[in-house]
Amino acid sequence: MGNERVNETRRNFLRKSAVLAGTILASSASQPFTAMIFAANQPDKSKPWYAIGIDIEKCIGCGMCAKACKSENDVPKDPFYYRSWVEQYTIKNDGTVSVMSPNGGIDGFMQTVPEEEIFKTFFVPKMCNHCYKSPCVQVCPVGATFESPEGVVLVDKEYCIGCRYCIQACPYGCRYLNPATETADKCTLCYHRLKKGLNPACFEVCPTGARIYGDLNDKDDKIHKFLKDHNTQVLKPNLNTGSKLFYNGLSSEVR
């Protein structure tokens, strides 16, 4: 008798589970579940969806991008607040890797390692990757940081409570707490310039054209040519952040 009762509930349980799973599957057909693919919204095909391309082979480490970024966005001048900065990687003949970024590269670079010790050396300009699965957006407890319809990750400084979760969450170290407003701050891809039809400041001042930005929704855009002509890589692809900053000539030493 006991056995029969157990079987009855098991049958009911399986039946209910099947109905539940079927309902979820059926409802997902009407509204696809995209949270695994996009942290925020799926890109709107009628609007631009920006991505960045940086050619490490063309970067000469003049640091103008870092300098222009500070001027354009009124970033505090102290040498630890950066929205955009340049690092010089030097791999010595003995295999040691040293990374230098004196004042973010704003004052330019001097070669400090003797030439005969260098195996290879190159500059890596860094900035916000404007990820579409942004860890920083996902951790914000109040919805103060978000991905704009153009694919630009922004901070609403009126709404930010300064809890610093996003600063810890960003695997690329692209955020800082603005000491003046006590809110999180970061690269906006010069959203205020994009909306006025101007290039972001770092792209405007790059003398060699090492950095470009473009619209991923527009197949004729220069970013598509960049992605087609170069073997590009994103930083920390294992973290699956959906970075939209593509590097050409990225060496495996770069972190």
Partner: protein, 151 residues
């Protein structure tokens, strides 16, 4: 219905009402229009004033320099790379003069020799030994026409 529920249900109703009223006043007006954020912040960020005016504005007035630069090795460069942010200068040219750098340090940011710079991308010199008797690069070179040497 048990008597405990009879007293607790109105309390729960009051609690829910208070929550809804508080929620109405605490959530900003445009929140959730496009996503889980305040839609008005997009316009606020877009309204931030600019500092870099862009090359197209510079060449409107400085047409002689622009014509000289057009056929030079520096033709692809934006004016504000060397001269600094110019939006204030555009608004009031008389009272906001831009910098005119030309020292070995400022030109050396791009042109001083460095193993990380590729020779096919940028022309490099050793700023310490290159024409050591001259102080500034612009003593010999015109930055808008680099190979037209001054005496």
């Amino acid at each position: 219905m048990p008597p405990q529920l009879k007293t607790l249900l109105p309390l729960l109703a009051v609690f829910i009402c208070l929550f809804l009223v508080a929620r109405h006043f605490l959530i900003p007006e445009s929140f959730g229009k496009y996503g889980h954020y305040r839609a008005n912040s997009l316009d606020e960020i877009a309204a931030i004033p600019i500092h870099y005016a862009g090359k197209s504005v510079c060449v409107d007035c400085h047409d002689t320099e622009a014509a000289l630069l057009a056929s030079d090795a520096h033709s692809g460069l934006s004016c504000e790379i060397c001269h600094g942010p110019g939006a204030k200068h555009v608004d009031d040219p008389e009272n906001n003069k831009l910098e005119k750098p030309g020292s070995k340090e400022s030109c050396g940011r791009c042109h001083s020799i460095n193993a990380a710079r590729r020779t096919e991308v940028i022309h490099q010199i050793d700023i310490k030994t290159h024409n050591a008797e001259r102080v500034n690069c612009i003593d010999c070179h015109n930055p808008h026409a680099v190979w037209e040497m001054k005496e």
